[in-house]
């Protein structure tokens, strides 16, 4: 069993006991524990179940590479699945639950999959669920969904807050182990700004656990001294609990700081996402130990040798009473020494190498520990916990030589440098055959904006696995002189010997039980099967078998897996290569990615000057871009459609008031402004007299309609261009693009004045009466005819009046300074009470424009429609030699008479056509789909006519007036007659009074 040792533990504070729960059971730990250490101290080796076979899963590692020991942590709105117990610091009251087990961890129904392992091989899903096709949706998917995923999705809104911050540094050192500290000190002495990030709560990394001496003092003391000197330097910033997740182009780094994970209840953001720009990055990220592939290597109680040592030295936790060590290198002997020195029993060290003759094996032998050379594990015995190991010859096929009783196995397959941050931005690796690892190739490092390398690996991450080499390497990476490098003293290690399978001639029966990816249940047999089935690329094999796709992202499994694949393909490991390293290095929280951008500040809300009045009047809102516009103003118990009908009828019979402030207003001014607008619009704007308005269309160079609006000639050299509500910023940018990049010698200024003016549309038969009551400007038919503009003082407020109409009624649009918007709106309401004045919203606006057959950008246009399709030929100049889109509109496809063109549509029974429905045509299109001949672009109930009205694009539409088309909606056919698109006041006498 695993338990707490009576003494020791360099990271725990025995004076601060903490209680927590696991699956409802109350357990105790100490401040400084990780969840994993505390669980182990309570003999809780079984933590969860694997993904596919629901195999029992225990603690395998002691750090970020842990694939098994994930739990659900927290309660209610603070619950979060898949929390890694090996990196989560214990806090008082932590509530944890096991995952992927039902009804409970010890008795799990899903474990039946385990008995069926022969029928669930690699690619099982691809092979099984292909046919029949209908079965996927109705049979397979619902079942697969139930068993998919590890952990439970939180149901409540996250109660914690998160934030983001920016930082800038000359040198970023990632990793606060001895290599990182040495590199940081060397770099800081050069005077550069240095930022050091350490993912755990502690400086020093593995060196203190490994018993290394630096500059003649114990590693712990050297670390404390170095951290103190760094902290004293003004150009150095040290951050613990901060994990660099990704390195991107030009030195951009994303890191997550766990600010308050260990301080629940503190008034702090839980996580802080750092967005860092670094001139140079030193990745002192260390190395991760690899498991060995032997049968039963996934049984709880089998763990990495370095992790077993960590639990004893850091947290005074014994992983087992009797621990068998199995290794292919000298480093694992340090675990044997640590366990032995803590009073625990190491029955044997199984060394796969033919000879174990180094300094460390000698130290083990001197303590009386049995060292068996050329031996390996044939099979681990046990179910939910290791009971014994069967010993075999590594060179053989697994014949059992002896059985050793034990409750823990500490394994070491060598180390893999953590090259993620170097590889993410494109750094290339080389294969070090002697040490069985990929290391950074300094000749092919990732390069930055200046073309020079910007990520350097230092220490173990660069392949310098021995302490003395690592420190010298890191000191040099920081720019230090060799003579001043810190000197490490450690036992010399003999060479390791790569072992990818144990024993090397293992038969299928054993290979079926050798795990590579512990979380996703990928075994040696699965990778070999993939190779037999033709998966030669490591990237394809990964996706086929799911090797390395678990939440540890292959930190444990990738190198072993690609070694097995290379062997099966009969090629050297570098020929197979690695999968792509992608950020994040370890998972970061969605909360930190979103940070403050949630709720009301997810995106800005634009308000017109009259916004609060609309809200007080009970407006039902419609989002238009970032604006909110009143859709309608329901009164009493009115439904929205009742309100819209009332607003339309009242505007047509009496008087309506619309807040049109969101309309885009761009001032175009200068000696060449007229010439510029002639290029921008399809119609001539330079000839527009001062004081007049003209409707204009804008197209892209592709010929397609992008915006429309009324242009006003304010003065000789100044035009005001109205754009659609959503289009102001886009059209302003479009203007600037052409001015700055094509016609840069033209003297034109543009200014987007959208928010400088409020705009109110006064619409209806009583519109003129209202403006006359407000007083100050002559708005008679003679003084201000249709499509004219004037300015002056209206109701005591400086105002511009445009006599334009989007409704077909007598209509004035009044622009006033934004600061006067609300006052003017209220003045209109007060003066118009007895004229039947009512405000109306965007839906009434839409209905009225559709009754008049006016187009709306985004309804009648979709980026493939040219003005000629919409019967807008009258707004296109035949005389102008050029305008944006003119050449494109001359292309054969654009002049094809078969194009779909705008018409009106009326159903035979007066009903409202569904929006967007298609009219099928006989035959099929070139893709074999049913041919179509038209679609509905706008459709409304018209309260004025008492029936449905619609517009649509129909093949050769205007030539087919009177024809009846069958539109199809939800399998039902709806006949509609093609008609003129103007449904109301065709002669235009209502607006022209």
């Amino acid at each position: 069993m695993s338990t707490r040792l009576a003494t020791g533990g360099r990271l725990i504070d025995r004076s601060k006991p903490l209680s927590f729960t696991f699956d409802g059971r109350s357990l105790g730990g100490f401040a400084g524990d990780t969840l994993a250490a505390a669980l182990l101290a309570n003999d809780q080796m079984l933590i969860g179940r694997s993904f596919k076979y629901h195999r029992p899963r225990g603690i395998l590692a002691s750090g970020v590479e842990e694939p098994n020991a994930l739990v659900g942590l927290g309660q209610g709105p603070r619950f979060e699945p898949d929390q890694r117990t090996t990196t989560t610091e214990l806090f008082a009251g932590a509530a944890t639950v096991s995952q992927n087990a039902w009804p409970n961890l010890d008795l799990d129904i899903g474990a039946l999959n385990n008995l069926a392992y022969r029928f669930l091989p690699a690619g099982f899903y691809y092979k099984t669920f292909m046919f029949p096709r209908f079965a996927w949706k109705h049979l397979f998917e619902p079942v697969v969904r139930l068993s998919a995923g590890i952990g439970r999705v939180p149901k409540d809104r996250d109660a914690d807050r998160y934030e983001q911050a920016y930082d800038f540094t000359d040198v970023l050192v990632v990793g606060g182990g001895v290599a990182g500290l040495a590199a940081a000190l060397a770099a800081a002495k050069g005077g550069q700004r240095v930022l050091v990030l350490e993912q755990t709560a502690h400086w020093g990394g593995r060196a203190p656990v490994d018993g290394i001496a630096i500059n003649g003092m114990p590693a712990d003391a050297w670390v404390a001294e170095t951290v103190a000197s760094l902290a004293a330097l003004p150009n150095v910033t040290l951050r613990r609990r901060t994990m660099a997740a990704g390195v991107y182009d030009h030195g951009y780094v994303v890191a997550q700081e766990a600010v308050a994970d260990h301080l629940p209840g503190a008034d702090l953001p839980r996580h802080r996402l750092w967005r860092i720009r670094a001139g140079r990055i030193i990745a002192a990220t260390g190395a991760i130990e690899r498991p060995l592939a032997f049968a039963g290597n996934d049984i709880p109680g089998v763990m990495l040798a370095s992790a077993a040592r960590d639990y004893v030295v850091n947290w005074a936790v014994s992983p087992g009473d009797r621990t068998v060590i199995v290794t292919n290198n000298d480093d694992a002997y340090r675990t044997a020494l640590a366990l032995h020195d803590a009073g625990l029993v190491v029955p044997a060290i199984l060394d796969a190498r033919a000879k174990a003759a180094g300094e460390l094996p000698a130290l083990a032998r001197a303590r009386g520990i049995r060292v068996l050379e050329g031996r390996g594990i044939a099979r681990v015995k046990g179910g939910k916990r290791v009971k014994a190991v069967e010993v075999c010859a590594q060179a053989g096929e697994g014949a059992v030589l002896e059985t050793i009783a034990c409750d823990c196995v500490a394994m070491s397959g060598g180390f893999s440098p953590v090259v993620h941050l170097y590889s993410q931005p494109g750094g290339k690796l080389v294969w070090d055959a002697a040490n069985g690892m990929f290391t950074p190739d300094p000749a092919r490092a990732p390069t930055g904006a200046d073309g020079k390398p910007f990520v350097t690996c230092a220490g173990a991450a660069s392949g310098a696995l021995q302490a003395a080499d690592a420190l010298a390497d890191a000191h040099a990476a920081g720019g230090g002189e060799a003579a001043q490098a810190p000197r490490a003293e450690a036992a010399a290690e003999a060479p390791m010997q790569p072992v990818w399978m144990m024993p090397q001639g293992a038969p299928a029966k054993l290979r079926f039980k050798m795990w590579l990816d512990f979380q996703n249940d990928v075994k040696v047999s699965d990778v070999q099967l993939a190779a037999r089935e033709g998966y030669e690329s490591v990237e394809h094999t990964k996706r086929y078998t799911t090797l390395g796709m678990a939440s540890d992202q292959g930190k444990m499994s990738n190198i072993n897996g690609l070694a097995i694949l290379s062997d099966a393909l009969g090629q050297p490991i570098p020929a197979t290569g690695t999968t792509t390293f992608r950020p994040p290095y370890a998972p970061i929280s969605f909360g930190a990615i979103a940070a403050e951008a949630r709720g009301e500040i997810f995106q800005p809300l634009r308000r017109t000057p009259m916004h609060d009045w609309h809200a007080a009047a009970g407006a039902h809102w419609e989002p238009v871009g970032l604006w909110r516009r009143p859709y309608c103003y329901p009164r009493g118990g009115e439904s929205h459609s009742q309100a819209v009908n009332r607003e339309v009828t009242n505007t047509r019979q009496n008087l309506g008031l619309l807040d049109a402030s969101t309309l885009g207003k761009i001032l175009v001014k200068g000696p060449d402004a007229g010439r510029f607008l002639d290029m921008l619009y399809t119609g001539v704007m330079s000839s527009l007299p001062v004081g007049k308005c003209r409707y204009g269309l804008m197209c892209s160079e592709n010929g397609f309609l992008i915006d429309d609006g009324v242009v006003v000639r304010l003065a000789d050299d100044a035009w005001l261009c109205h754009t659609t509500s959503g289009g102001a910023d886009r059209i302003h940018a479009h203007m600037e693009d052409w001015l700055q990049c094509e016609w840069w010698d033209w003297q034109v200024y543009t200014a987007n004045l959208t928010e400088q003016f409020a705009q109110v549309a006064v619409v209806g038969p009583n519109a003129r009466k209202l403006l006359e009551r407000l007083g100050g400007i002559d708005v008679s038919k003679e003084a201000l005819p249709f499509m004219a503009f004037t300015e002056g003082t209206l109701a005591g407020i400086p105002a511009r009046i445009f006599r334009i109409s989007f409704s077909g009624e007598l209509s004035y649009e009044v622009a006033i300074p934004a600061s006067h918007g609300l006052a003017f709106w209220k003045a209109c309401l007060a003066a118009g009470a007895d004229l039947g004045l009512m405000p109306y919203g965007t839906e009434a606006l839409h209905v009225m424009r559709a009754e008049k057959g006016f187009i709306m950008i985004g309804d009648e246009t979709d980026g493939t429609v040219i003005p000629q399709d919409l019967g807008l030929g009258w707004a296109i100049s035949k005389k102008m030699p050029d305008y944006l889109g003119k050449r494109a509109q001359e292309r054969s496809h654009m002049t094809n008479p078969e194009r779909w063109k705008l018409v009106g549509l009326e159903t035979l029974d007066g009903s409202v056509l569904p929006d967007g429905v298609l009219a099928p045509a006989p035959g099929a299109n070139p893709n074999g789909q049913r041919a179509t001949q038209g679609r509905v672009t706008s459709t409304y109930f018209s309260p004025t006519l008492g029936c449905g009205i619609a517009m649509g694009l129909v093949r050769r539409g205007p030539e087919r007036i009177g024809e009846v088309l069958e539109f199809v909606a939800a399998g039902k056919s709806i006949p509609a007659r093609i008609c003129d698109q103007v449904f109301y006041d065709k002669s235009g006498e209502k607006q022209n009074v």
Partner: protein
């Protein structure tokens, strides 16, 4: 995430402050142009792996368009220059040649 220096305001701007605008130095063809010339202007883009000239706008900054010479494979930036340039200026050409001796030159 790229950083490019805006030649108008001098700010070393991060990619989130910039809006991309595609290939630089396109020659506009309008009415009267042949189908081939117009098609080339509208659709044919170089898309090289290596030295490339691009349009960028300092959209969240000074608002000005500018041009950048950049390696699409390594993301090395050879320089930025004003949008009002019919072709890459000599100092940009020299900077590219210094870093890419095999480069065939702007065409």
């Amino acid at each position: 995430m790229l950083t490019l220096t805006c030649p108008c305001c001098g700010v070393a701007a991060e990619e989130t402050e910039l809006a991309p605008g595609g290939e630089a130095h396109l020659k506009r063809f309008g009415p009267g142009a042949s189908d081939e010339d117009f098609e080339g202007y509208l659709f044919a883009r170089k898309n090289p792996k290596g030295v490339h000239f691009e349009r960028w706008r300092h959209a969240m900054g000074c608002g000005k368009w500018f041009l950048a010479a950049r390696c699409t494979a390594t993301l090395e930036v050879f320089g930025t220059y004003k949008a009002q340039s019919p072709e890459p200026p000599p100092e940009i050409i020299a900077a590219i040649k210094a870093r890419r001796p095999d480069w065939k030159g702007y065409s």
